[in-house]
Structures are given as structure tokens and as C-alpha cells.
């Protein structure tokens, strides 16, 4: 850090504890920021698209995550650099809003900054660059809207929806079993979607992963699945036409909340107490039985004696169910959660067609499934996979695909993928650039160049020649005027993204452009970083 000195050679301190602080400013600061952002973006660049490569992330305890999901990579990277942190938030913002395109947004921001750096070298003022980018972004977004297609599907024929989900899943490791998983996702979204209000409540979709089995065994369970087993090993493993009592009280003698002590002073009292204790158990079971329930689900534990009484009375039971699961069961079965045995009435019971225990492989894992519930709204996607890593990654991919399907249910305008949208915008923006008579012309043209980076990255990741592919596709777009020509990542032999069924929701793409531009503007406006010395 540069210091000012007075005539006696003593440094003039401006900031408190100035010597401990790092400071960067001016063009130097810009360059350092751009470098940091570019470094992060270049890490993600190779994960873009259907053929994007994976990253291994080793966490602090030596655990391994394998993923190519942009948001996950950035979060797990634990970056320290301030600018890199902004990029992490950028991908998170995209993840929160749209749930997909988290890699694309970071790569675009990186490309924009790279272009900005060239302009800075030419002596353009950062603010002019930022303004130019803003203008260009508006042009691109407007152009996108004119190029958008409408997307039609009905609940009866979700084929189009399945195709979109396949695009989203295509970039993940799961693409071996693409079609199946996409169908599972669409099925899940459609079963909870309210098509009239165009709304999807994600609370109702639960994604549960379990190690073991093949990815092909992943299935949608129209009901609820919980990681529990029946409380007594000899209870029936499969129940039909079940009436369920959903209890938040334990099968144990009651525990009053106020502090108290019960003193036993004589033999009579001791015996009385024993009788009372027995009475508690029989009464509890009798109450459940009397309500007509054929299955008891409790949030708490059971005493051994109660457990056996339940078995003896042919009343299967599940204990230690978590709060969220309790609610899911209640919603699915149309039951009420009952806090006391005495409140239990036949109306409050939930119903389900089947309740059964699933067991897996040679290990002793067991799970319980509630199926054919009256309220089909709550569904569970049950993910299987070779190992923990694959299961986790599949869960993440399914989440992304669910988001895409949801967005399409909400909004039916789409834009073609495979870089087609970026290429057509790039053409439109560079055309528009020539019409600007001031310096911003250069910034606008730079924006167009940055957009080209996305199809180039897609091509490079698929093992194609990036520059040649881009040039060919661009020329084809200009020649035919079709905005749906893109990079053939899947190597299907056609550049027609309409035919390949590769598309994204318009909102996702617009959001990507807007977020990336905003972020770059913000970075360009920073010309001074003061890092406070570490707290002593």
C-alpha cells in the first residue's frame, strides 16, 4: 500500500491501523477483480452444457462430492476472494429464482468481464463500459422476447414437458437414464400442480435418496415414504385399506409439564401405582383401537409393554416419525394430527390404500411407503443409485429438472437452447451496435462477443472445434434467419434445436442475462478495495 510521508519522513496515517490493511485502487483494482472473476468462471466453464465435465470436491473431513452443478461447485469451493464471493452469490440468486442455469450465468459474467478488460486496456472508462453493457442487455432481452416460442402442453400429453426436463437433466451425470428420470420429474410436478392457477407447491414434492440399487429403480411414489420401520418386527409388513391414527403423544405414561414428585410411602400405594400404570397402557391402546384405526403413527417412542400390546391387538405402529414427515402423512391421508389419545375420533383418522415396508439389497435397510392416499397431492421421488455420491448428484439434478418443469407450468414461453438463443442475441446486438454513435458502440459489440462465449464453451465441452462450430452455426442463422439453430452438443447430427427439443424457459434466459450484466456493472463500478486487517 502506498503511504504518504511528511517532510520528516513519518508516514501520514489516514486509515486506522493503516499498515495492516490491504488496498487496491484504480485500474489495478479493476484488473485484479476481473482476474479473480475470470478464474472462478473458467472453473465452471468446463461444466457447462450436456457434455460438461464434473468436479470433485473434497470437503474438510475428506468426504468426496462429485458434481457439475454450478451452484453446488461454487458453494463448496469456499472462496475467500471478495469478487469471487460475488459470483457465488450470483449463481445462488439464479438458483433461488429459477433453479437452473446456474453455471451459464457465471460463465456469461466471466465472458463479459473478459471483454471489459480488453476495453479497459483501450482506455475506455469503466462507467461507459457498464452503460454500454446495460444497453446491450436491453437489446438482447427485447430480441429474445421476439424470438420466443410458446410452449403447449396439457396434463394428458406432457411430452413437451418431458423433453424440457431432459434438456435440464442432460447436463448431469444422470444422462444415462434421461428419459425415465425426466418422466418421473414431470409426473411429480403434474401431480402437485394446480394447472388453472398455474401454480406448483414445492412443499408437496419430497426427494428421498437411498444408496443401493440402480438409477433405473428411481421411482415416483404417489404417496409418502419415510425412513422408518414398524415398531415391532412381527407386525404385518403390508396393510391394505388402512385407517391411520396420527399421534404426537408417546405410548408411555403421561409426563406432566409442571415439575412434580410422586412419593411412594407404603406398600398399598406401591401396588396401586402399578395397577394404574398397567391401566394407562391398556387404556391407550383401547382408545386407539376404539377409534377404528388400523395403524398408529407416533412422533414419539413406545414403551416395550405398549409395543407388545399393540402387536397383540393387531395394531401395527410406527414410532419416532419426524415432524415434517408427520405433516406429510397427515396431508396425504387427510388425517388430523392428534395430540392426545382422548381426542382421537374416527373422523380424525387418515386413510391410505396401502402401507408397506420396503427392504433393500443384502443390507438391512427398510422404509415404509404410504400409497393410494386420498390426497394425491403429496408425492415423493425415491432416488436410487450406485452410491452416496451418485444419489446426491441425482437428487440435485432432479431438483433442477423440477424447477424447470415448474417454470414452464407457470410461464409457457420458451427459447431454444444449445447456444441458439445466445447466437441470435449476439447477432442482434452487434447489428444494433453499429447504430450507436458514441463510445458505447464498442461496449455493445463486446457484449455480443461475450454472448458468443457460451456456444463456444458448449462446443469445446462436447469435443467439437469451438471456433469452427460457432462460425458455422452463426452463418447458418444469418443465412436462414432461423433463431433455433444451435450447437449440436448431443452429436445427433443436426443443428436444429427445435427438432432436438432443446429449450429453456424464456424467464430463465432473461434472468441469466440480467443477473450477469448487473453483476458485471457492479464489479466495473468498484475502483477501490480496502481489506480490514484480520481481527486481532
Amino acid at each position: 500500500m502506498s503511504l504518504a510521508f511528511d517532510e520528516n519522513g513519518r508516514p501520514v496515517l489516514i486509515l486506522r491501523e493503516q499498515e495492516k490493511k490491504a488496498r487496491l485502487r484504480g485500474i489495478e483494482a479493476h484488473k485484479a477483480h476481473i482476474l479473480a472473476a475470470k478464474t472462478v468462471a473458467s472453473t465452471l466453464r468446463s461444466s457447462l452444457g450436456p457434455k460438461g465435465l464434473d468436479k470433485i470436491i473434497v470437503d474438510g473431513d475428506g468426504g468426496v462430492t462429485v458434481t457439475n452443478d454450478g451452484a453446488t461447485i461454487l458453494q463448496e469451493m469456499q472462496v475467500e476472494n471478495e469478487i469471487a464471493k460475488l459470483l457465488v452469490q450470483l449463481s445462488k440468486a439464479q438458483d433461488d429464482e429459477i433453479g437452473d442455469g446456474t453455471t451459464g450465468v457465471v460463465v456469461l459474467a466471466g465472458a463479459l468481464l473478459q471483454q471489459a478488460e480488453l476495453l479497459l486496456d483501450r482506455g475506455l472508462h469503466p462507467i461507459r463500459i457498464a452503460d454500454g453493457f446495460e444497453t446491450a442487455c436491453d437489446i438482447a432481452v427485447e430480441h429474445l422476447k421476439t424470438q420466443a416460442d410458446t410452449f403447449e402442453f396439457t396434463a394428458e400429453d406432457p411430452e413437451q414437458l418431458v423433453k424440457t426436463c431432459m434438456t435440464s437433466l442432460g447436463s448431469k451425470i444422470v444422462n444415462r437414464d434421461l428419459r425415465h428420470l425426466a418422466e418421473v420429474c414431470v409426473d411429480a410436478v403434474l401431480s402437485v400442480a394446480d394447472l388453472e392457477r398455474r401454480d406448483v407447491d414445492f412443499e408437496l414434492i419430497k426427494v428421498v435418496g437411498k444408496e443401493g440399487g440402480a438409477m433405473e429403480d428411481t421411482q415416483l411414489i404417489k404417496g409418502v415414504i419415510i425412513d422408518k420401520q414398524f415398531s415391532h418386527p412381527q407386525m404385518d409388513k403390508e396393510l391394505k385399506d388402512v385407517k391411520i391414527a396420527i399421534l404426537t403423544c408417546p405410548f408411555e405414561p403421561p409426563k406432566p409439564k409442571t415439575k412434580h414428585k410422586l412419593n411412594v410411602k407404603s406398600k398399598e400405594e406401591f401396588e396401586k401405582l402399578y395397577k394404574q400404570e398397567q391401566a394407562y397402557f391398556t387404556e391407550m391402546v383401547a382408545q386407539v383401537k376404539a377409534s377404528g384405526a388400523t395403524l398408529a403413527c407416533s412422533q414419539w417412542g413406545f414403551d416395550d409393554e405398549a409395543n407388545h400390546l399393540l402387536l397383540q391387538n393387531d395394531l401395527p405402529a410406527i414410532r419416532w416419525i419426524g415432524g415434517v414427515e408427520m405433516e406429510l402423512i397427515a396431508i396425504a391421508t387427510n388425517g388430523n394430527i392428534v395430540p392426545r389419545f382422548s381426542d382421537l375420533t374416527p373422523e380424525k383418522l387418515g386413510t391410505a390404500g396401502t402401507v408397506r415396508e420396503l427392504s433393500f439389497g443384502t443390507t438391512k435397510d427398510k422404509m415404509i411407503v404410504f400409497e393410494d392416499c386420498p390426497n394425491q397431492k403429496a408425492v415423493t421421488i425415491f432416488v436410487r443409485g450406485g452410491n452416496q455420491m451418485i444419489v446426491k448428484e441425482t437428487e440435485r439434478s432432479i431438483h433442477d429438472a423440477l424447477c424447470v418443469a415448474r417454470n414452464l407450468v407457470r410461464e409457457s414461453t420458451i427459447i431454444y437452447g444449445g447456444g441458439a438463443a445466445e447466437i441470435t442475441c449476439s447477432l442482434a446486438v452487434s447489428d444494433a451496435a453499429d447504430k450507436h454513435s458514441n463510445v458505447e458502440q464498442y461496449a455493445i459489440r463486446a457484449f455480443a462477443n461475450a454472448l458468443d462465449d457460451i456456444p463456444m464453451a458448449l462446443a469445446a465441452n462436447s469435443g467439437l472445434d469451438p471456433v469452427g462450430t460457432l462460425a458455422a452455426v452463426k452463418a447458418a442463422q444469418v443465412e436462414t434467419g432461423n433463431s433455433f439453430l444451435g450447437v449440436d452438443c448431443a452429436l445427433k447430427g443436426t443443428n436444429d434445436m427445435k427438432a432436438q427439443g432443446v429449450f429453456d424457459p424464456l424467464s430463465s434466459k432473461v434472468q441469466q442475462f440480467r443477473l450477469a450484466t448487473q453483476m458485471v456493472k457492479m464489479i466495473l463500478k468498484l475502483d477501490d478495495v480496502i481489506v480490514s486487517g484480520a481481527y486481532q
Binding site: A32, A36, K38, T39, V40, T43, S46, L53, D54, K55, I56, V58, G60, D61, V64, V66, N68, M77, Q78, V79, E80, N81, I173, R176, E211, G212, A214, H232, P233, Q234, P253, K255, H260, K261, L262, N263, V264, S266, K267, F270, E271, L273, Q276, E277, Y280, T282, D303, D304, E305, H308, L309, Q312, T362, G386, N387, Q388, M389, I390, S462, G463
Partner: protein, 536 residues
Amino acid sequence: MASFGLQPVQILGDQGSEERGSLARLSSFVGAIAIGDLVKTTLGPKGMDKILQSEGMGASQRGSITVTNDGATILKSVLVDNPAAKILIEISKVQDDVVGDGTTSVCVLASRLLREAEQLVNQRIHPQVIIQGFRKAAEVAKDALVEFANLRDAEDTDGVRNDLLNIARTTLSSKVVFHDKNFFAEMCVDAVMRLRGSTDLEAIQIIKKTGGSLRESFLAEGFILEKKIGVGQPKRIENARIMVANTAMDTDKVKIFSTRVRVDESAKVAEIEAAEKDKMRAKVEKILAHDINVFINRQLIYNYPEEIFADNGVMAIEHADFDGIERLAMVTGAEIVSTFDHPDKVTLGSCDLIEEILIGESKMIRFSGVAEGAACTIVLRGASKQLLDEAERSLHDALCVLSQAIGEPRTIYGGGASEIHMAAAVEAAASVQGDKQALAMEAFARALRQMPTILADNAGYDSAQLVAELKAAHASGSSSACLDMYNGCIGDAIDLGVLESYKVKSSVVSSAAEAAEMILRVDDVIRQPVRQRAQE
């Protein structure tokens, strides 16, 4: 770390690091290949064992020794730091869970695939192209395997048994018990045949007792409990009526919350003591009212109730652990009882004979002629604990494979025959594949052919010669030609009885291809800072 001018721009946290591109790929390849090489020598009937010495912190663990050639056990015990190696280990663990055997093969095949892939990457072939090629090759290989498999006639009982014996022998011949493999193969097949198609290995119990030789191991029909019978109680009961219970037989605690006994004179203490005793007596009487002659409890039985049981000629067994209780309940058909008020509702277990037997130096209780005919116990004898542990692992593998093989009527020839056949099919497919993927498919075929090479190498034969002969034999149409590892020549799988389960082999191919793909897709390794642990 990126640098700007001379000033480094730090992006990751202090100890975090990132490896990119070819460097990351190199480290993954090296790690995975190292793991493959580690277990390579244990493959096949002449595979070597490994000594695993534990470096645990506790005094009981330190320096404890395991001798094994079970791939899953070795991989579980080696602590690796390389993320790719971890992936490989994870995948082989899944193989262990799902089919129970073939863990070593998965690891070795995956590492061979990666070794081939490394060379292709060095020839500037894009990893995605290799992955596509591998996928196609794996499909072809699996199809070839289906067509190669022999369908067993389920009606032909002798044939089934013969097949199973061959499978068991093949599995066991690579384990520590290979000297007595016929003996153990018979034992395993007998045990599995008792299950009558169920894959529930719970019913087969393995008890290890040091002393004697492996040959003195035996299969006991029924169930053996490693417990003692109470003093003064009958040591032998015919036509037993058994109650399996989980209840407190020491002092019955009062379960009503926060009760305590507080008395003001010693006479009352005596009274309460008497009341307690009465309560226990009442409980025992209630139990006796079930008309039983054997009582087995999960919890302790105090002297007093034990004495009452003895007086009534009932055999009482205490402290049977939870696993034991569940198993016992299953095999005798009893329910686990915790309350005793309704004798008419309790299902008792039964068995023809219960007696105390001596195995080696220790007394045990044998239940024979149990209701659940599937149950049996394998008692293993052997010179040392390590030997017994290893024998148990071997038998476990064999039992898993057999139980899966009963449900799956397809078998394939072992001794390298299937690999050579698959390799030929993949090569044929590669020759009509008109693009770069053909190179990857050829590599896949080479990796498959490495498997018999390693088998021969481990046995100390001239692998190049043998594999060439084997390949020629297959090409000229004798599909049952395989390696004869005892004479060092090419033999006939039918004569030698070298059969493997189709399911295991098919799972080996797909798991290995999956693992290789997963590692190939990685182009970046990000390490988070190591979490600091407090010193113990």
C-alpha cells in the same frame, strides 16, 4: 492461485486448493489405478492374501490383525486421500451390498478401463468421446453376456443343485477356504437350499469357535444360541413351547414419571420390598400361565424369578441380545412378548428339541426341529481368530451369491471365458463403429481381456500365451473354453465346473463402467481447507 503482476490474487481459502484440467485428471487416474493395483493380486483362485494391521487409537484395536483376500474388506480398511480412489471404493462397496461378491473384479476392471482411457486422453481424444464409446461398449458387453448365459431348467432339481455347487465352488476357490472348497460348497448350497428361494440370509446363522480345523466345521439344522441355561433347570426339553420375551425381569421399574420411594421407617422398607417381590412373583406366575416350558428373555433375569422358573421346570434363558431374540422369534414362530395378561392372544414358538451342546470348549443351546424350516446354523471351526473371520467372510460371499443365483436361473462360464467372449463382441462392434468412439470401444475390449491375464499372472503362469490360446479357442467356437488355474492350461468350463452367477458378472461390468465414467468426467479437483480437530 491466480496472479496479477507480481501480486497474487487469492481466491480460495487459506488451505484450499484447486487442481485443474490435465493435472486433476492425472491425479484421479493415478489414484484409481493404484487402488486397482492394490487389490489386483487378490483376484482369482491363486490370488494372494493381504494383512491389514489396524492403527486404531484404542488399546483394543491397536495392532489387531486381519488376514483377508476379500476385496470389500481390504478396500474398507485402506484409508485413502485421493478422491478418485474414494469413488472407486464407494462403487465397489455398492457391489458388495447388492450382490455380495465381485468387489475385487469391479475395482480391477475399472482401473484397467481408466488405464486404457488415460492413453486415449494422451492421444488428444476428448473424455466425452471416450465416455460415449465406453457406454456403447458396456451395452454390447452386457448383451453379449445375456446371449452367452446358459439358462437353467428350474424343474431339474439335480441340475440346479449341481449348478449351485459349481457356482459356490467357483466363488470359494478364490477364498481362504479353497482347500476345503468342496466341503464348504456343499455346506453353503445345503444352507441356501433350505431358504427355498427366499433371499433372506438372516435365517442362516454363522457361529465361529476357535479350535479344531476348518474341516470340523458343520452345518447344524435349527438354531444355536450362544447362551447358558439357568442353574437347576432342565438341560433338554422335547416338544418345547417357547415364549420369547422382552421384559424386565430384575426389578420392574415403575414407569410413571418421577416416582420415587420415600419411607420413614425401616418396617415399611421391608413391606415395599415384599410388595416388589410379590409383583415379580405375580409376573412370573402370569408368564407360567401361558403353559410354556421355555422362557427366553432379552433382558436380565434375576435370581429370584430364575428360581421360580426352575421350581416349575421351565428352562429360562436370559440376556439373549436383540439380534438373537429377533432371529429366535422368527425361527420358532413366536412373537416377542412384553405383557402377559392375555395368554390366549400370545403366539408361542415351538420346536422339537432344545438341548445344551458342547462345541469346542463352550456350551451352547441348540433348537432343532423349529417351525421355520429355513433356519440353520453354520458352525465354523478353525485354528485362529483371523482364519475364522476370513472364513466367515468367504462363506458370506458364497451365501450371497447363491441366494441371488437361486432367483436368477442364468449362469455363465467362469475362468475368463465370459470376459473373452464379451471382449470379442465389443471388438466386433467397434469395427463397424465409424468414428472416434471405436478407439474407446477397442480400449474397453482390451480392458476386459486384462481380467483373465491377471488371473493367470496371479497364478504364476505365462499369461500372454494362455490368453492368446483362450482367445483362439473362443474364436474357433468352443465357448466353454476357460483357464484351468490348477494345471496352467486351457480347460473346459463344463468339465471343470467353473460356473459363475450371471447377475454378479453383469453387475461387475456395469459398475466398473460406471466408476470409470465417473472418474473420466472429472476435470477439476477442489479441496476445502482441512477441518482442524482438537488434539485428543
